[in-house]
Structure formats: structure tokens, C-alpha cells
Symmetry: C2
Subunit: 199 residues, 2 copies
């Protein structure tokens, strides 16, 4: 690709680092950006910087946020007595897409995985237990993935919380085993939420 | 997608303006950028700005360049007596990829298209005629596309230059190398037969 001047080659390289984008798509995107209006390219660059600078974790639920408290934790219409525990923000996004849940979240930032050496201290489980005050919380929905790590994580949390007065539920099956919450269609997600069962 | 904080939504929107990237891919890319190392995101943003600021057109051939003269026009090993006329920089890139040409280029910046109201003054044909000095140039290869607009453009240039001492040639059309005759469209087949050559 040495026939392009260096600024184009550099952008192609940077774009090709993104998932699902190779040199060929990178070339197409770089040439598009080159011919796009200046303000459009400037906006794209600014948005990338902005994202890295402004996104932080919500101090309550650890979801992605541009403020100390995320939109959901700050929303008075959301039910603060129900916490839905998910592994990561994309799982939370998938649940929000279904519009079937009006409580709050707790983002663990991963799942327990003894094989990979990920224990309770490596994800935000302690922070969940801290939030699990029976005088404040009525229900905790375990919506970790339905794969081994997710199930182990759900079991671990259930085991530690089952002696409290908080109702612990698991998101219903209906989601294929080993399936990634991120790719579930909203209707399946809604069904899975409605059919959640107690232990 | 309102469940994402605003900086993420803004970046998804900006990414979704790129060709072949929709909201879904934009979401995936934005989340990748969010989790990528800071320097990687910063580089991507800087490369976008850099591209817009540093790329100009070569003052000789009008190809993309980061200097007044592009790499090819500035290269003493390239044959300055042969000009290959193409419609745009991607066509030039395709020819460079073949490594079969060691002359210079002239990028028209489009093709004649009466239907779309694109006449000789709308593309860089005048600039080509200015370069077509018989004391400097031996051959002009017309490598405009093989569609109606490309053929019209080639004919127009041929018509204006055929009375000079410069040899005017047209890039060959026919069956692609390794191409299966079975899948060749009738027009290409017709051309391939008409342009057949003896040994």
C-alpha cells in the first residue's frame, strides 16, 4: 500500500486495529474520511477523545457513565429496591434494549473463573454485597451469562446472600446455554426476564 | 440506544456515518475504543485530524500527497515521458498495486458525464492538455474506467490529442486473467473478441 502518502497509511493502520476492520476496509474508510467535510472528520476525532476523557464508572452500579452517578441510578423513576447483576455494560445495554426492566443494575466487570485465576476479589462482588442491605433491597436478579463462568458466579452470589431477607432470582432460561447476552434479541430478553424464577 | 451515556452515543453516531458501518457495528467499535489503551484512541483521533490537514493534491499529477509533489512525481526513477490518465486516486492505487507501470499519472478527478452535467471544465482535463507537451511526453495511456463515462472521457481526450506527436494508447479490455469464460458478461466477451490479437 506504499502508493498512498504517509498520513493515509497511518490512518489505515490505526483503523485496521479496530475489530472486524482490515487493511481493505481501513483503506475505504480512510478515503471516505479524506473526502468527507472537515467538520465531520473533526467531530469523529473529537468524539473519540471525548469518549476516553468523559466516560467513567458509575459510583453506585459501575456502569459506563459521563457523571458520578449513571443515568439509571440518578433516575427517580427506576426502582432502587431491585438490582440486576450483570457481567458487563454490554449485557446491561442488551437488557435495557428489551425495556422489560425498571430497576437498577450492578455491573460485576466479569465473572468468576478459577481456570483464568479470576476470583471474587477480581470482580465487583464485594461492592454488590455492600449494596445488599435487606432494609433497602427487595430483590437481586442474577443476570450473569448462562455459560459456566456465569453460572458459577450466580451460584457464588446466591450462596452468600441466600440467608438474607433479599429475594434472589436468576434470569430465566430461554437464552441458549453458552449464548452471549449481548447478541440476544429484545423479545427473548424480555421473556427471559419475565420468566425469572426463585431458588 | 439511549441506555449508553452521551459520549458513547455521539461516537456511535459519528462512526455510523462511515460507509458500511451501521449503529450495530458503530456500537461495537465505540466499546472497543472505550476499552482500548488511551494512546491507541489518541493515535486514531490524531491520524484523522492529520489526514485532513496534511493531505493535498500533487501540483503535477493531482494525486493524493502530503507534499507539493507526490512520491511518484518526485521519484527520479519514474519515467516522466509516460502519463497514465486515471479517473481517481483509487484507480491509480490499483495500477500501482500491479507494479506493472513505472511512468507517472494524471488524476482527472472524475469522468465526463453529460447526464450528470459533468463537462470538461469540471474535471482536470485542461491540466492534462497543459502537461501534454510533445517535447516532454512520449505516450499518454488512457486508463479511465471501461464504462460509458470512462469511454466518453477517453474518446474526448484522444480526439483533442491525436494531432500531436504524442502516442495515445488505451488500457486493454478483455477477459480478466484466470477468469472463467462461463461467467464473463456478454459485453466483455464481445470486446475480448473484437480486440483479439494475432501472434
Amino acid at each position: 500500500m506504499t502508493y498512498y502518502p504517509e498520513p493515509i497509511l497511518k490512518l489505515i493502520d490505526s483503523l485496521a486495529k479496530l475489530p472486524g476492520i482490515g487493511k481493505k476496509t481501513g483503506e475505504r474508510l480512510a478515503l471516505h474520511i479524506l473526502h468527507a467535510p472537515n467538520h465531520e472528520a473533526a467531530t469523529l476525532a473529537a468524539d473519540i477523545i471525548d469518549l476516553k476523557n468523559r466516560i467513567q464508572l458509575c459510583s453506585v452500579c459501575f456502569s459506563l457513565s459521563d457523571k458520578d452517578k449513571c443515568r439509571i441510578c440518578a433516575d427517580p423513576s427506576r426502582d432502587k429496591t431491585v438490582i440486576c447483576v450483570v457481567e458487563n455494560p454490554t449485557d446491561m445495554a442488551a437488557i435495557e434494549k428489551s425495556k422489560a426492566f425498571c430497576g437498577t443494575y450492578h455491573i460485576l466487570g466479569g465473572a468468576l473463573s478459577p481456570i483464568d485465576g479470576i476470583g471474587p476479589d477480581d470482580i465487583r462482588i464485594k461492592e454488590l454485597f455492600k449494596r445488599a442491605d435487606p432494609s433497602q433491597i427487595k430483590e437481586i436478579i442474577l443476570a450473569t451469562k448462562t455459560n459456566v463462568e456465569g453460572e458459577v458466579t450466580a451460584s457464588y452470589i446466591l450462596d452468600r446472600l441466600k440467608r438474607t431477607n433479599i429475594k434472589i432470582t436468576r434470569i430465566a432460561s430461554g437464552i441458549p446455554m453458552g449464548g452471549d447476552l449481548q447478541y440476544i434479541d429484545p423479545l427473548t430478553m424480555q421473556t427471559a426476564l419475565e420468566k425469572r424464577y426463585g431458588f
